[in-house]
């Protein structure tokens, strides 16, 4: 294992994050605050408790998930797309590193960034509502797994994308709708019955539900299913990344 190489990639990626620290952290904080003003104060004041939790607190896990998933994807996809775009990928390909080391460096950095952003949002939310975390270790595990799996997914998008438009395509067209429809701002039990069945086909429902369970002890689907969903998603992403490096898909001819 070429540990210095993993560390070099990780540090290099983290440096970019810290170089733009204000933009990296300030924008999620501002957008979270806006969500609280709109959903928590303006709309939330007209909604009674959801599953025994005040609406303002109820949306906290969903909000964190929303940011963590989108940030993990955008950080990881940009991280590997940029070297492809400017040509510095040659250096990775000609270095004595294997695919696992490259992935650990890039995905590790993207996951760390999104984890930091998740924690910052959690702290920001604490200024608006009272937050109780019933299962803190489970919360951390769900958060970490989401950061890792969505960073892996972002890495795949970054390899696949051939231009900046494609880089944005999947996050905008697929991920954001899935997150919004995945119960980030509501419990799926609030949906009409037929839509509840449809919602169960949305993988994000399982992630948000499990994460919310770690806060409040209530969930749309069983926690076991949530764990299985995230483990399955991580596994699929790892498989695709392994295949990419085995075949050199879009990085090596």
């Amino acid at each position: 294992m070429n540990l210095p190489a993993i560390w070099a990639i990780y540090l290099y990626e983290m440096k970019r994050f810290f170089r733009t620290l204000m933009e990296s952290l300030l924008s999620p904080v501002i957008s979270t605050s806006l969500y609280f003003v709109v959903f928590g104060a303006a709309i939330g004041s007209r909604i009674d408790e959801v599953e025994g939790v005040s609406y303002g607190a109820f949306i906290v896990p969903g909000l964190i998930m929303l940011s963590v998933m989108t940030q993990a994807i955008s950080n990881a996809s940009f991280g590997i797309y940029f070297p492809k775009f400017i040509g510095t990928i040659f250096e990775l390909l000609s270095a004595p590193v294997n695919f696992l080391e490259i992935v650990l460096g890039y995905v590790g950095a993207a996951a760390t960034k999104s984890l930091l952003i998740g924690i910052v949002i959690l702290v920001t939310a604490g200024f608006f509502v009272e937050i109780r975390i019933m299962h803190p270790w489970a919360m951390l595990a769900f958060l970490l797994l989401t950061c890792i799996s969505f960073s892996l997914f972002g890495f795949i998008i970054g390899i696949w994308a051939e231009n900046f438009q494609q880089l944005q395509l999947i996050p905008l067209l697929v991920i954001t709708p899935l997150i919004f429809l995945g119960g980030a701002f509501y419990s799926i039990s609030m949906l009409p019955e037929s839509w509840q069945t449809v919602a169960l086909f949305n993988p994000v429902v399982y992630l948000v539900s499990g994460f919310r369970w770690s806060f409040f002890g209530t969930a749309d689907v069983g926690v076991g299913w949530s764990l299985l969903a995230i483990a399955g998603f991580t596994g699929i992403c790892m498989g695709v990344v392994w295949w990419i490096f085995k075949t050199g898909y879009r990085i090596k001819s």
Binding site: N2, L3, P4, A5, W7, A8, I9, L11, Y12, K15, R16, R19, F82, P83, I86, G87, T88, F90, E91, L92, L93, S94, A95, P96, V97, N98, G248, K252, S253
Partner: protein
Amino acid sequence: MTAIVDVQNMGKVYAGRFTALSGVSLQIEQGEIIALLGPNGAGKTTLISALCGIVTPSSGRATVGGHDVVTGYRKARAMIGLVPQEIALEPFEKVINTVRFSRGLFGKRRDDALIEKILRQLSLWDKRNSRIRELSGGMKRRVLIAKALCHEPRVLFLDEPTAGVDVELRRDMWQVVEDLRQSGVTIILTTHYIEEAEAIADRIAVISKGRILLVEPTADLMARMGQKTLRIDLMERLEAVPEALAGYDVSLSADGTSLSYTYEAGGERTGITRLLQALAAEGLALRDIQTKQSSLEEIFVGLIKEGEA
């Protein structure tokens, strides 16, 4: 001498159609400078890329320092430094950070003293905290060299190191290459400038359409191929070549204002002195004199014809 780079019958076919390399075999000895000379699209970059791990060879095999570039890629690549043809650098990064990153990528621990030495050698030390985008094109190329050297490679690939580089920087580059050779580094450079190959390479491998046409010591090749033409512009028009010059292989231009004389640059006697003396004896006043080396294309045409014969 042992071959530090050994390429055996290597081929590369892109996307099942375009053949970029075909049965290339090449042995490069430790400590030498070899130039891969060929026109654009000859397969020079593909050959280098296959040895460095950027493209996967379709057939054949190669070793660097005895390590197979595919199955023993870690050890092989650890010995290789690569300076690519295109300037590919992250514009917002500082010079010193990007060089440190390269060293880390090759599994080496941070070594500030070594990086300072390399940056000083390449006149980059003063720019170490500059961001890449603030540097000139020539400086960026030096950064690429610094990145390739920072893990102390034994074999250095320079892909068109002086393409688009001004004369002064070109001379500096050649000096850097010579210094590296002194320290025992084997250097493989690609170029389509014959002057460059002639100036710094010990041996020249001519490559065209994915095949190595020949590998020869530079001096031998230049002597064999180096035909030059001397062009003499005259002050006054001539109707015909003066009789006194009949013994020379001299031709008169259509407008009668210049004479051309072809000779072997590598020959012991070029005949130039005698020709000029004869011109003076004829009382011809000269406006200008210039010599022209056979161009690379001409040499290629010659080589390909030889190959067909």
